[in-house]
């Protein structure tokens, strides 16, 4: 899969190093002792309640930024209840793929990855520092479980279409591709190339979740969902902070065509 380049090799080493240093770091500052033990047991027993403390390790104070993270509930529901993934199966060709296309503001993503055992929580303490695998935009080469490196908008959805095609061509029909984009990110024309294409190819293994906080300057008259629906996608629009509604939307998608879940969140979040 990966090109055997120097950068890739360095990346792997950095990732390993971060894990090792994390194991020695213990669980300082955490409410739940299980999280601090590290990757191996991170999945067991760590619930949504651990998220604020994980956030605090990155934000460095108690500003409750976690509560304002627009993507948090979506990410949690996906990793906790929807995606067929685990830290032990990051290279399993039949795993589901989650692509964070809106890579900006990745604290919620890192917090969820730490809660689910992909990252040792102590890795969060030094995020964005020189030798940290965690930047302000995620890098798949540096972070185990991160499927794409993102940051520049409008790349994740076309890549997700290619992944969905590739999985279908290889007969990996159980694997699902879920890509998260922002409503403002949809300004990028590359998304519209991909939306039309996925509709025409009938990629039923593809789900887009649009975190819609109406941050696009020029907006989407008629709503975001209609842009997908007109291209043949199944669509649903739910409250992006309602975890039950999100779960129902993700598991209840029309299995005959690509689907979009528009997760509406409070503007400014």
């Amino acid at each position: 899969m990966a090109v055997a380049s120097g950068a890739g090799l360095n990346g792997s080493e950095a990732g390993v190093g971060a894990r090792q240093s994390g194991l020695g770091g213990g669980g300082a500052g955490l409410g739940g002792g299980e999280v601090g033990v590290g990757g191996e047991v991170g999945v067991a027993g760590v619930g949504f309640a651990a998220i604020p403390a994980l956030f605090e390790r990155m934000s460095g104070d108690e500003k409750h930024e976690w509560a304002a993270a627009s993507t948090l509930h979506v990410l949690w529901v996906l990793y906790d209840r929807v995606l067929n993934v685990s830290p032990e199966r990051v290279d399993d060709p039949d795993r589901d793929r989650f692509l964070l296309s809106k890579g900006h503001g990745p604290m919620a993503y890192y917090a969820v990855l730490a809660a689910k055992g992909y990252l040792d929580p102590s890795t969060l303490d030094t995020w964005t520092q020189w030798d940290s695998p965690l930047g302000q935009h995620p890098d798949r080469v540096l972070v185990p479980g991160v499927e794409i490196s993102s940051g520049s908008l409008g790349h994740g959805l076309p890549i997700a279409v290619g992944m969905a095609v590739g999985l279908r061509l290889q007969g990996r029909d159980a694997a699902r591709v879920v890509v998260l984009v922002g409503d403002a990110e949809l300004d990028e024309g590359s998304n519209h190339e991909a939306i039309a294409l996925a509709g025409r190819l009938g990629l039923s293994n593809l789900t887009v979740v649009v975190v819609d906080n109406e941050s696009g300057t020029h907006g989407w008259p008629g709503g975001v969902a209609t842009r997908f629906a007109v291209e043949g996608w199944a669509s649903s629009t739910v409250d992006g902070s309602d975890q039950e509604a999100l779960y129902s939307a993700f598991v209840g998608v029309d299995s005959s065509r690509p689907s979009v879940v528009v997760a509406r969140v409070v503007k400014g979040a």
Binding site: V3, S5, L157, P158, I159, G162, L169, A196, L197
Partner: protein, 312 residues
């Protein structure tokens, strides 16, 4: 759309009268696909009628950003994508997708362009891409191959499909009259004592004509990145440290790798290629453009006389 259709129907026979580079590419890919389920092709209308229909040949329509993104997704899912269209639409329009969806994701793929710098100049600037190799050269980890004849294409394509790396293969209607053995190294075609002329791909034949009777070494390159620094150093050591670089794309594209190869050798370098200083607003034939850029035999011969002091 008319331009797209016309370009898409460019004939399958190259100037050399044998199978064109594009047809050789298509034939090879289709043959390899029969035995290698990893290989899949992504197109954006161009060449759609040249490939036989297959689930593994995906025509995304006129959507070049999606074409590259889809190629990346195929690679990330474990396949070996071939991404192909006309050079400006393959390289220039979706350049950020090439940088991020392949390089930054650290996945491999085989990019194959047709059209060269100005294969069919009646279409004007929109269908010319003399900067393609220079653009790829700004990105780490790309192997760049510039065949000079249709007969050189099969081996290049087979090797690329069998690998995992990032490869750009630049095909053209401009060809030498015969194929040369393809190597990742520089191939010595002629040996002389007065200096070294390095000809890339289709430039070999005009270079051979322009250096007829001149006492210089002529090297032939199809693999231009990574650059065979050792081969150039050896050729210079056996001749003189005066180098004339003749490339079929933007002038000076490889000047920096030559300078790097000869960093500790006092040398002179002259680089011929498609001129940088202004956009050439002219149609006509590819030969007209060769002449305008001094890439025809007369222009190259003049540069040879100036650099190597040939007394003619």
């Amino acid at each position: 759309m008319s331009a797209v259709s016309a370009v898409g129907s460019v004939g399958s026979v190259g100037t050399a009268g044998v199978v064109s580079m594009r047809q050789a590419f298509v034939d090879t890919v289709e043959e390899v696909m029969e035995n290698d389920p990893r290989v899949a092709v992504v197109l954006a209308e161009i060449s759609r009628d040249v490939f036989r229909p297959s689930p593994r040949v995906v025509n995304v329509g006129i959507r070049e950003q999606a074409m590259v993104g889809v190629g990346s997704g195929l690679a990330l899912s474990g396949m070996r994508p071939v991404v192909h269209t006309y050079a400006p639409f393959l390289v220039e329009r979706p350049f950020e997708q090439i940088k991020l969806d392949f390089g930054h994701q650290d996945v491999g793929g085989v990019f194959v362009s047709i059209g060269g710098s100005y294969d069919d100049p009646v279409w004007g600037r929109t269908h010319q891409a003399p900067g393609d190799v220079a653009l790829f050269d700004t990105l780490p980890g790309w192997r760049i191959v510039v065949p000079g004849h249709g007969g050189e294409v099969e081996g290049v394509v087979r090797e690329a499909l069998a690998g995992d790396d990032r490869v750009y293969i630049r095909l053209s209607l401009r060809e030498n009259s015969r194929a040369y053995p393809v190597s990742r190294k520089l191939t010595e075609v002629r040996r002389g004592s007065g200096g070294v002329v390095l000809a890339v791909g289709p430039m070999l034949e005009p270079v051979l004509a322009a250096t007829e009777g001149v006492d210089v070494t002529v090297l032939y390159a199809t693999s231009v990145r990574p650059f065979d620094e050792g081969g150039l150093r050896a050729a210079v050591a056996a001749s003189r440290a005066d180098v004339l670089l003749v490339e079929p794309y933007l002038a000076g594209t490889s000047a920096h790798v030559v300078a790097e190869a000869l960093a500790d050798v006092p040398h002179r370098l002259r680089a011929l290629g498609v001129r940088r200083e202004s956009e050439l607003r002219a149609y006509g034939t590819a030969e007209d453009h060769d002449s305008a850029h001094d890439l025809d035999v007369l222009g190259i011969a003049a540069a040879v006389r100036r650099l190597f002091g040939h007394p003619v």
